[in-house]
Symmetry: C2
Subunit: 188 residues, 2 copies
Amino acid sequence: MNGASLSFLIISLLFSVTAESSPCSINGMPLVRNISELPQSDYGRGGLSHITVAGSVLHGMREVEVWLQTFSPGSRTPIHMHSCEEIFIVLKGSGTLYLASSSHEKYPGKPQEYPIFSNSTFHIPVNDAHQLWNTNKNEDLQVLVIISRPPVKVFIYEDWFMPHTAAKLKFPYYWDQECFQTSLKDEL
Amino acid sequence: MNGASLSFLIISLLFSVTAESSPCSINGMPLVRNISELPQSDYGRGGLSHITVAGSVLHGMREVEVWLQTFSPGSRTPIHMHSCEEIFIVLKGSGTLYLASSSHEKYPGKPQEYPIFSNSTFHIPVNDAHQLWNTNKNEDLQVLVIISRPPVKVFIYEDWFMPHTAAKLKFPYYWDQECFQTSLKDEL
Ligand SMILES: [Zn+2]
Ligand SMILES: [Zn+2]
């Protein structure tokens, strides 16, 4: 083997390793994927397990995105708001949905509480502040989450009486951060 | 009771019966719904059980819609195509996805076959003709289906070599038919 073919081999190896080791590349991803083999993490949020089942940043979706999330007892989402549609399907466990339907005021205000349970479904009205909480001390809460217009742009509130003008935009959101730049580069 | 109050009572009764007995009204629908109590039908397609978990026509969704569908052994979708995004999550059973990725030709053409299995996920590339088939003789195939831009507008092919120009638009689709007119009236 001469010098030229050796460097070609090394370069080819480097490229193939880079392509396969990146969790952010949609190239070479199989069409049918086993959900139990997809990347899973708490993304720095204790008590959460998040899997992007089909996503904008990870899989090139443009109009819908699906997550599988598990909340350990006591864990919860932040109080938050978004202008996209969101549908929940509860696969396991139970908990509480807090929803401020009067979010048209200057702040979300005291939310209404809705018990949620296994095999239930609900959707969040666009622009209403809400929070999902595993209030069941004995069991994990597992939900499928479907959002429109990904990647999600989320406004986070510290409490229900924080003015809308003080809410903090978190974008890209927790699970989109790692691959967001790579995905943008792919588009260019 | 005089004549006036009696007719008031009758009119009130008529109104309340009408409001509650219509499966097409989103008024008074609870925010959190038990999926096992939602209307279920085969909509004239043998071997299918369809439930609209959250829908445009039934629940006022504008950007996403979710179905829970069960296919008995041997049953299948038509060969069809749509310009919206579609994500599948297989909850139970197994089967085959037929997908014509070369749908950019004059007709879909011979499809590729992909085995699908419990806890798998896949999405259909926009405008690619496809068909889902429960090819497992021993078990029902149950899937969650998520589509964007509801209500769905479907082009149906009699076979994989029918020209795109001969495919038939079915709109409103099977499960949207009953309530479609009512929903339009609600919007006006
Ligand atoms: Zn949300
Ligand atoms: Zn389809």
